[in-house]
Subunit: 268 residues, 2 copies
């Protein structure tokens, strides 16, 4: 079993309730990697017997660090329309809410479609780049193969402030695993906190709220398979304890698979 | 009383419940302008007696069009930490959920701060531009003074597809009203659907999910007062019934006040 599937495995209890378990493979500095927590929130709605359609939007608010061990999820379908379904999900541990989320699912049909943004041009293929080091980094980074074109996580925190926090990075699950909505939800949180790229100083940080839009449907994800996707990430603003970051995830056929936004607490 | 305050006036009932009313001043094509609905969701958490801090993140999912008349809101504080507070809000009408939302509030402190993005340069001041026409448009547009630098709502739907959907627009409440979190939440949804700007064809559309990050604290909003803010908006991708759009709202001192993202259903 792939470690990501172990980390996002939910045991169905009754009536939209599920039990999950933190996974040492995806441990972060404090608690689990937030991307896997977000993936579990999505998983609860996906595995609910009332589910209709595929995800188009997911928001997860992180209220507290999870302790290692079991946690409980409850997914509630708030409203089911002809082509959309609205979900609320709460994740708790020891009777206290640690994360909450919402998702919108949809039955999609073929329509007029057009890109507006394009992925960066002239990017070397993943094979031409070296894998980002994982030694000395939290466990979860060992389960992504990241190859940076630009803006890597600094290897040395030398406090040399950079002009921007832009990154371009080829990423896939390690070991390779075919992309699906759950793994894409996690991958959208794999972009290192922009404040580290920008300032090259360590600081306490924590994502407060994460929103992901799924532009891809299941067929487009299946076509991408287990190959590297191209991620681009940047911030707009760092101000009085909070910064935002936005990321796009592009398939290797230059189609936009997901766009993702978050706001992150920092102490600096 | 300013029509925006009338539209977002909530009557407290018991235990985090509130009653609101749709307002003809902010009517849209079908139901009320979504920005005012989002503002009411935020207002419920802001007026809850347990409130701590100011908004940093707001997500609103629109599940159904509201009918004209009363609606009910219930705001629940999910978790209160030392400096953050997590909210869940549900808006219902006739016993069915029409919108749901979440908010994160925070007590902010002065820290190292730095912009990364900048507003567009060489933008003429609002006085040098003409106000966007409101004749023949939904009522809510009469309550914003919008002055487009680029990418206005088309006056003629001639199906002349454009290369992009980028807009730059000075906006303020009409009549002028000092900016606060609630009015900023609404203003973040005042950017016309990008598909109209891009295709210049009418099509049924509806915002499915809207997320706003507040970069400004109360002091920065107070400093902006009732003057025009500069909005920039664009899409990344239109695909099989859903497109995204992102917007930034800049103060006239070039500070980022809010960034906002949404995913929108369309039929085309």
């Amino acid at each position: 079993m792939h470690p990501f599937d172990t980390a996002t495995l939910l045991e169905p209890l009754s009536d939209g309730h599920f039990r999950g378990h933190t996974s040492p493979a995806y441990a972060n500095m404090v608690g689990p990697f937030g991307g896997v927590t977000a993936a579990c929130v999505l998983q609860a709605a996906l595995q609910h017997p009332a589910r209709q359609g595929d995800p188009v939007a997911l928001t997860v608010n992180f209220a507290a660090a999870l302790a290692d061990g079991d946690f409980e999820l409850v997914a509630r379908p708030l409203r089911t329309n002809r082509s959309t379904q609205h979900w609320s999900v709460e994740l708790s541990q020891g009777g206290e809410i640690a994360a909450s989320g919402s998702a919108v699912f949809a039955l999609r049909r073929e329509t007029w479609s057009a890109p507006e943004a394009a992925p960066p041009a002239d990017i070397p293929p993943p094979d031409a780049l070296v894998r980002s080091p994982v030694f000395g980094r939290p466990a979860w980074t060992r389960h992504y193969d990241m190859r940076f074109v630009r803006g890597p996580m600094p290897e040395v925190f030398d406090a040399a402030h950079q002009a921007d926090s832009h990154s371009e990075v080829w990423t896939r699950d390690e070991p390779p695993r075919p992309l699906d909505f759950v793994s894409l939800a996690a991958l959208c949180d794999s972009f290192f906190p922009r404040i580290f790229v920008r300032r090259r100083e360590l600081a306490p940080i924590g994502t407060v709220s994460l929103t992901t839009y799924f532009h891809a449907d299941a067929a487009l994800l299946a076509a991408q398979g287990a190959r590297h996707v191209l991620g681009t990430a940047r911030a707009l603003n760092f101000r009085n304890g909070y910064f935002d970051q936005s990321a796009e995830v592009w398939g290797d056929d230059r189609q936009l698979l997901a766009s993702s936004h978050q706001i992150v607490y920092y102490r600096a």
